[in-house]
């Protein structure tokens, strides 16, 4: 059977087959590499404490499924408060950054003006400046203004920190919309406002979604600014609250993994729904080629 089949396979086909086999083997191994740590985190979140710290029998699937870690996260560790702070900050950041990005992106895409290329250059350079370096002077300013340990300070930092990249991204989305589309709508009797709402915004929708998510994720994922600018538990975001659980002599791994799982959920859901736009935005925003 095999030998009869082999007669019909040219050397080229055999080579292609071998190549394909390697390709899928590689993709399979990589998939495992991506999924394994996530799997490990999620199943730990559903294990009981005794199972987690049983050194003699490390289990690869929970023996007793439990929601205890999630429950104590909320009842004992004030996770609800962290979550609320994170949601407020990320949503607020995303809305403001989106407005800034639409205005700035439109200006950069549709106007010719002096200093434009310098501004774009500064946008790009600002992406390379280490956060840790600017955070010390900012700390001193906000300390003078008595704003340390407020959510307001984090909101300002998240907005300002995420704006440049989002403006650049939005600009490239605007640039993809031909000016003629806007003009055609005007010729057809649309007012400028109507043209914007009925023609430009729908075409721009992917850009709006991408920018919203970039800004939301940027604020949601931040740990550094949160650790530096907030000190009382009532002001902590999810990452800062979770960080406070490690470093103590008795690390509560069950709750930490439950918290980590919950922290990842929103970004994963967003990414799943709009991956195409995000990929578009990412490739357009940082590298134009």
């Amino acid at each position: 059977m095999i030998s009869s089949m082999r007669r019909y396979l040219s050397p080229h086909m055999v080579k292609q087959g071998a190549l394909n086999f390697c390709r899928f083997l590689l993709l399979g191994v990589y998939l495992f590499f991506v999924l394994a740590p996530v799997y490990w985190m999620v199943i730990t979140a559903f294990k009981t404490d005794t199972e987690i710290v049983n050194v003699n029998n490390i289990t690869y699937f929970p023996q007793h499924f439990t929601l205890d870690n999630f429950i104590s996260l909320f009842s004992q560790l004030k996770f609800g408060g962290f979550l609320k702070n994170s949601i407020i900050l990320s949503t607020g950041t995303a809305i403001v950054v989106l407005i800034y990005a639409i205005l700035g992106g439109y200006a950069l895409a549709r106007y010719k003006f002096r200093g434009k290329s310098t501004i774009i250059l500064f946008f790009l350079i600002s992406q390379m400046i280490p956060g840790i370096l600017v955070i010390i002077p900012l700390y001193l300013i906000f300390a003078k203004l008595h704003l340390i340990n407020t959510l307001f300070v984090l909101l300002i930092i998240y907005i300002m920190g995420n704006t440049p990249f989002c403006v650049i991204t939005m600009r490239s989305f605007f640039e993809r919309i031909p000016v003629s589309l806007e003009e055609a709508a005007r010729v057809d009797g649309c007012s400028r406002m109507e043209a914007l709402v009925r023609v430009i915004i729908p075409v721009l929708f992917p850009g709006i979604v991408a920018v919203f998510i970039f800004a939301f994720t940027g604020a949601w994922n931040d740990l550094l600014a949160g650790v530096i600018f907030t000190s009382s538990q009532a002001k902590w975001t999810v990452p800062v609250g979770m960080k406070s659980l490690i470093g103590k002599y008795n690390v509560r791994w069950g709750e930490l993994m439950a918290g980590g799982t919950l922290a990842l959920l929103p970004t994963v859901i967003m990414f799943a729904f709009v991956q195409r736009y995000v990929v578009d935005g990412l490739t357009a925003g940082s590298v134009k080629g």
Partner: protein, 305 residues
């Protein structure tokens, strides 16, 4: 005529100001968030500034730098760690990202789903990924040790995070995990933009597979490779959160990089002058790297970006 002129002037002024007005929030953000702090940080590096001595702030010339280079016994170790950190993270991320992009170039059934799964880590936070890896590499209860024991590769559990030889490696693995999607996304997009005619021409010219890969594929996506490596190097160099979560720089600075060292110097000793001096050194190094990199790769000749 006069009215026309006035109208024209008004219109001209309006269009001249409009873009600046639209960009105002962004420009203010950048000045406040990057411009002022950078200048301030530079000035701070020549100042005696300790947060715990608010009434004892004065210009101290090069003293911070002298302290840094002559008295700081960990600076050499930390600088070396930074180099290993950047080289390790970026080279492996790039290699895996390129291999992945090449493997994903040809369509196959389920490619879309596969892609969306493996690119998800891009949206993950350093802190959550740091937690995952800190837990996986836990010396006692960690899955990595358990797997290695079960497959008889080791007989005794390894203290990954507690060993000064292995802690940096552990953080690098976590950083590679989170960073591959960026390269994968960028390089795949670049690969897909290569027109198939170029390959046909190369085949007609008698190019073999290897020659085709180096002279056509890599040559065509060179601008993307340069920009992604440049950006990623800088981001990895600047990254502190992963280190803060996985090892906290320890044990005894063995996984501390320059960026995380600035953080620990600033917020453990509150000597902001010294931390700023470290920052100035950091920025000089970063700028030099960017200039040299662009020069060496002959980026201007490689194409526009």
């Amino acid at each position: 005529m006069l009215r026309n002129d006035a109208k024209y002037a008004k219109k001209f002024q309006k269009t001249a100001l409009e873009p600046y007005l639209l960009l105002l929030p962004v420009l203010v953000s950048m000045l406040f968030m990057f411009g002022y702090p950078l200048i301030n940080s530079f000035l701070l590096s020549f100042t005696h500034y300790r947060l715990i001595e608010p009434n004892n702030i004065y210009f101290n010339g090069m003293e911070n730098f002298v302290n840094l280079f002559q008295k700081d016994e960990y600076l050499g170790l930390v600088a070396m760690n930074s180099l290993k950190w950047v080289l390790g993270c970026v080279s492996v991320q790039f290699f895996l990202g390129l291999v992945l992009a090449l493997a994903l170039k040809k369509p196959f059934k389920g490619r879309g789903v596969y892609q969306s799964i493996i690119f998800v880590p891009w949206a993950f936070s350093s802190f959550a990924v740091g937690l995952m890896f800190r837990w996986s590499f836990n010396g006692e209860y960690g899955v990595i040790n358990d797997l290695l024991m079960r497959s008889s590769l080791i007989t005794e559990k390894i203290s990954w995070l507690g060993s000064s030889k292995l802690s940096l490696l552990t953080v690098i693995i976590a950083m590679v995990w989170i960073g591959v999607p960026f390269f994968g996304i960028m390089l795949l997009a670049a690969l897909q933009s290569i027109p198939s005619e170029i390959y046909e021409a190369a085949v007609l010219d008698g190019c073999g597979a290897i020659r085709k890969f180096f002279s056509v594929t890599l040559a065509y996506i060179k601008p993307t490779i340069i920009v992604t490596i440049l950006l990623r190097t800088i981001w990895v160099f600047n990254a502190v959160e992963m280190i803060m979560v996985v090892t906290e720089g320890g044990p005894t600075y063995s996984s501390e990089t320059l960026a995380s060292y600035i953080y620990s110097r600033a917020f453990s000793t509150y000597d902001f002058g010294l931390a700023a001096a470290l920052g100035t050194v950091f920025m000089v190094g970063l700028s030099a790297y960017a200039l040299v990199f662009l020069r060496v790769t002959k980026f201007e000749e490689a194409g526009d970006f």
